[in-house]
Symmetry: C2
Subunit: 334 residues, 2 copies
């Protein structure tokens, strides 16, 4: 009953564009979701080690209802500068929340930790994320690269290189839902050390290899496989955006973000650990004009979980090798 | 690497006893977890329709650190009276938070909706949950029934009768973790309409049938199967307790509750919907004397998810038929 959108990307949600900027030597980068018009937004943080900017304003009881962009960045806390670059790019275009003659672009941001991933982090006084953020905003389009790109450039998982993933779902009532994830968890996205993704039950077609679930389960299926134990990489957190063209309140958008976390739980094990800053931003562009009924809302929230799980798997599935990588890519696993 | 405790019940966690009280005609009941000494406690609510009592005091920044008991009850908002009965039973035993010469038993509680399940709800002016709560406290012991018992007596899921489930895990560092769940979600605990539980990757032995995962996946694996669509039953919410004998702060107990929600996501689909009041209480008795290292804490939190997923499956697996049931039991599914 689930179909993907035309691109199988978050940009299948009308009103959104995505831009990547990255630096192969740095092994890091930035991904920005630009909203053509301000989008209702929320966030749910469930990991124990988040790094964020402008998340308090997203609570349903706070004043600002809508945002101009959301930023996912590598660079740990240094990567929060990426939002400054996006703000600058938006201000140059005359976009922002108007207070008298001032325009303030509202740009929530979250980071993942990729400082110990084989990249060159000797950037001098100031980190390069502000400029990467500006470049990502300038690059925003309907098509964008997944895998080793943008905020997923330096991402790793337990035993496999991570990456930037995206997926979309068309619901029967005409609503589209899309997910974007920079996949960098402490845990594993595969069942044990097999090639089978945990997200397999929700795969559409062969969007991440089409291998299904392993049967019988491999003996290491419930080993706790952690990158901090298996590999030199110390670099955690999955950060993500779930978006829809449905008309949602800010509170409903928060529930969308909560539901999308079930996609993390389905796609990665363990997830939401004290060493992951796992969080999901939610965006509702309202472009479909459809206000989901209570019954339709359950489908929407269920699809938030499955679409996010698929985005996580697609991010790892699409990763490509690069010099000085600490971990192999999925496509090379025997 | 995972082993169950001696009983494969939450009471494998030293310092806890569990009591059930139920009424077959009412098709509802109460389950109480009694703490021999006050246990550090927390809660995480992620469902959209919770019913609770004494949950605000559980926030890490609030004063009371520990509780005397936790109550899970049927009866929707009427079932919150069960905590009064448990308070009365504890006061009779001289148990409670001392303020001068007064003892106030601290008894957080949560309910599930089982008012439309074939039972007789014509109870007159006052509902019977206060007395059921008292009886459950009096019945508390190391051994207790799972399946159609206590708060799981009237529970249902999409397509199958629900129930009360429990499971435990012994970690390599000597810590025990246990889960207790009254399983009554709007969603399905099986892969499509098969007999295979979603929780299969984490099953220990054949504790819920030993069927593993289906391969290939059945064509209805990602149908959104909801009891509100498939059956006359309108009765949602999974409420649960995750407990450990590790020494945890209140904040760490909250993270334990968050992690246990991943067990809901793994065992049920969809979970955490707007029509579920899904929540997890966490209890840390400290009886092992072990303060988990940051690395050990990841195992503890990962096991919280798997132990909870197993408890959910075991609750449905153990359900038994009763007169006027609206749904079949798992053991009768072909």
């Amino acid at each position: 009953m689930f179909r993907t959108g035309a691109r199988n990307l978050i940009t299948d949600v009308a009103g959104l564009k995505v831009g990547n900027a990255d630096d192969a030597k740095l092994k890091s980068g930035v991904t920005v979701v630009l909203c053509e018009e301000p989008a209702v937004a929320a966030v749910q943080v469930l990991g124990g080690a988040p790094g964020t900017r402008e998340t308090d304003l997203l609570e349903p009881h706070n004043t600002v209802e809508a945002v101009n962009a959301v930023v996912l960045s590598g660079g740990s806390a240094f990567g929060l500068d990426a939002a400054s670059g996006v703000q600058a790019a938006l201000r140059e275009k005359g976009v922002g929340f108007a207070v008298r003659d001032q325009l303030i672009p509202i740009v929530p941001a979250a980071i993942l930790f990729d400082l110990i991933n084989g990249g060159d982090k000797d950037w001098g006084r100031y980190p390069p994320y502000r400029e990467l953020g500006h470049a990502a905003a300038e690059a925003a389009a309907l098509d964008f690269a997944i895998g080793t790109a943008g905020a997923g450039t330096g991402a790793t998982t337990a035993g496999l290189k991570g990456g930037l993933g995206s997926a979309s779902t068309l619901l029967d009532n005409g609503v589209t839902i899309g997910a974007l994830a920079a996949v960098n968890p402490v845990g594993s996205v595969t069942v044990g050390r097999s090639r089978h993704f945990w997200a397999a039950p929700f795969e559409i077609g062969d969007e991440f290899g089409g291998l299904g679930l392993p049967s019988p389960l491999p003996p290491d299926a419930n080993d706790i496989i952690l990158k901090i134990r298996d590999a030199a990489a110390g670099a955690n957190t999955t950060i993500a955006v779930i978006a829809t063209d449905a008309v949602l309140t800010k509170a409903a958008a928060k529930r969308l973000a909560i539901s999308a976390h079930d996609g993390f739980a389905r796609a990665t094990w363990p997830s939401h650990t004290p060493m992951d800053g796992d969080l999901v931003f939610a965006l509702a562009t309202g472009r479909s004009g459809i206000v989901p009924s209570p019954d339709e809302a359950i489908d929407l929230y269920a699809a938030a979980g499955t679409t996010m799980a698929r985005a996580v798997a697609r991010g790892v599935h699409a990763a490509t090798p690069a010099p000085d990588d600490l971990l192999p890519v999925w496509s090379g696993r025997g």
